[in-house]
Amino acid sequence: MSDQTYVTKDPRGPVTQLATPMRLDYLFTAGLSLSRNLRGYQRAEFVGQKCPVCGKVYVPSRGSCPVDGVALTEEVPLKNTGTVTTYCVVNVPFAGQSIKIPYICAQILLDGANLSFMGLIQECDVEDIHMGMRVEALWVDEADLVPSLASVKYFRPTGEPDADYETYREYL
């Protein structure tokens, strides 16, 4: 035995690494507000929630207006259509990837909403995607609707003229 370290005769040599795996199980609670939004997906509907102070409509919502710090109490049904505010084209394969690359991931601002969220764009060549493109949601079959964004199969171009930059510049 040396003074500073313990010396072993074990052919495996000194221990230098220790596996410390951890696993924690939780039951996530969506809360009232997000639950209203999630229930909308079950009906193939985007449900926004309106701030009683500033009037902004959030989809999805976490239960408060992040600007005013008040509960969002008014449900606002939104249409299936929106505008691509920004996007990226995914070319990198990764573990668990379910979509064929290259594919488009876009931030979509639904008509009447004041918050964009991320969605998959299909039926659109990667060369054609651009900011301001008008898109619509395609929902899964009724039997497959679930209380999550998995109810949205993907978004696709509507063919309408592009949205005016001024309509989405605040949301970039």
């Binding site: 939780y26 609670t29 600007v67």
Partner: protein, 361 residues
């Protein structure tokens, strides 16, 4: 205008002007953290007569391990509405330490009002597994000692050293539950006899079920104000005349678990013994910890301990310590007390302790 009591550490005077808390419950199933916290923040602003725009600094205490998601304190800011952008900070500790940081921040003199809050939902995960992860990761955490077992090891030393008995633990639990009968926010509100409590089987000996804190969801919030401005907002601000926190070694086996040296040092620095103490809110989640703490705090026998029921009646993690400060301050705000002591603890078996002395003008 009333005189501000002299501060022990010669600091810029800072007072608690408002305190609010949620009803502490076993499981707040209808709300996520933001929804649980928001009404508490609204209430504390209303009590202080301010809005978020008056607040110069926000500091919160919470732990992401409870929710199982990273940076949950950032999303919790949605409960306040931090626009235009706010000066903000967070401690991965009980909100009592967030209050300490806000107190220090107010010393800089450029702002006068700070919001402090703590929140925690214990109902989402497995506390025994979560809190084992705060132990030494090589030689202790893999063994997965649970919270009750570690407290039981400490309780055994308390008994062996003649500091308290199992009957004393039961008496603490009975008194706490009875006190909580007059605290509408508490979770365990009962009138139990010591005899009945002693008839319970051991959870982990020497601790019976009544020695354990409830598992709780909850939040609390405090508004701190520096200088004379406190008198503009409330009649009787609760002035922080001393505050200090101390930590001991992480190695449980290197500590005398029946003695809280860190609490004693913090109490000395905060000046607990330099005047009468009308009441003390002591953060002792396990009944066996109260005697350790009241001894370390050096409280006179006339001091009323935990009139709120304390952590044995409501144990919302990450806000329980802040609630102790709030409950103690409320007694001054209400004119029920002149000089009070609040204590908060963090870490395994009372590793880290904060002591705060508050006085009325």
């Amino acid at each position: 205008m009333s005189q501000i009591p002299a501060a022990k550490q010669g600091h810029r005077p800072v007072a608690v002007v408002a305190f609010a808390q949620s009803h502490v419950v076993r499981a707040e199933t209808n709300s996520n953290e933001v929804e649980m916290l928001m009404p508490v923040v609204h209430e504390v602003f209303a009590k202080a007569g301010i809005t978020k725009d008056d607040v110069g600094f926000i500091c919160s205490g919470s732990t992401d391990y409870l929710i199982g998601g990273p940076f949950s304190f950032v999303t919790a800011l949605d409960a306040i509405g931090v626009w235009p952008p706010k000066s903000e900070s967070h401690v991965e500790m009980d909100g009592a330490w967030a209050l300490y940081e806000a107190f220090v921040r107010l010393q800089e003199g450029d702002i006068d009002i700070a919001l402090v809050y703590g929140f925690g939902k214990s109902s989402l995960g497995d506390l025994d597994k979560i809190f084992a992860l705060q132990l030494d990761p090589y030689t202790m955490a893999p063994l997965n000692p649970d919270l009750v077992s570690l407290a039981a090891l400490q309780a055994r030393v308390v008994i062996d050293q003649g500091i308290a008995t199992e009957e004393d633990f039961a008496a603490v639990a009975a008194r706490s539950r009875r006190s909580a009968l007059s605290n509408e926010f508490a979770q365990v509100r009962r009138d139990d006899s010591v005899e009945d409590l002693m008839a319970e089987p051991y959870a982990v000996s020497p601790l019976r079920r009544h020695c354990l804190p409830p598992i709780s969801d909850g939040a609390s919030a405090i508004v701190l104000v520096a200088g004379d401005r406190a008198f503009d907002l409330v009649e009787r601000p609760a002035w922080i005349t001393g505050i200090d926190h101390r930590i001991e070694t992480h190695a449980i086996g290197a500590r005398n678990l029946a003695v809280s040296t860190s609490t004693a040092k913090a109490a000395e620095m905060a000046g607990v013994g330099e005047g009468p103490v009308d009441l003390a809110e002591v953060h002792a989640p396990f009944a066996s910890q109260e005697a350790i703490l009241t001894t370390a705090l050096g409280l006179p026998s006339s001091t009323v301990i935990n009139p709120s029921g304390g952590a044995l009646a409501a144990n919302a993690l990450m806000s329980g310590g802040l609630t102790r400060i709030g409950e103690a301050a409320q007694a001054i705000l209400d004119g029920r007390a002149k000089r009070v002591v609040a204590h908060a603890t963090s870490g395994p078996v009372l590793q880290q302790n904060l002591v705060c002395v508050l006085e009325g003008a």
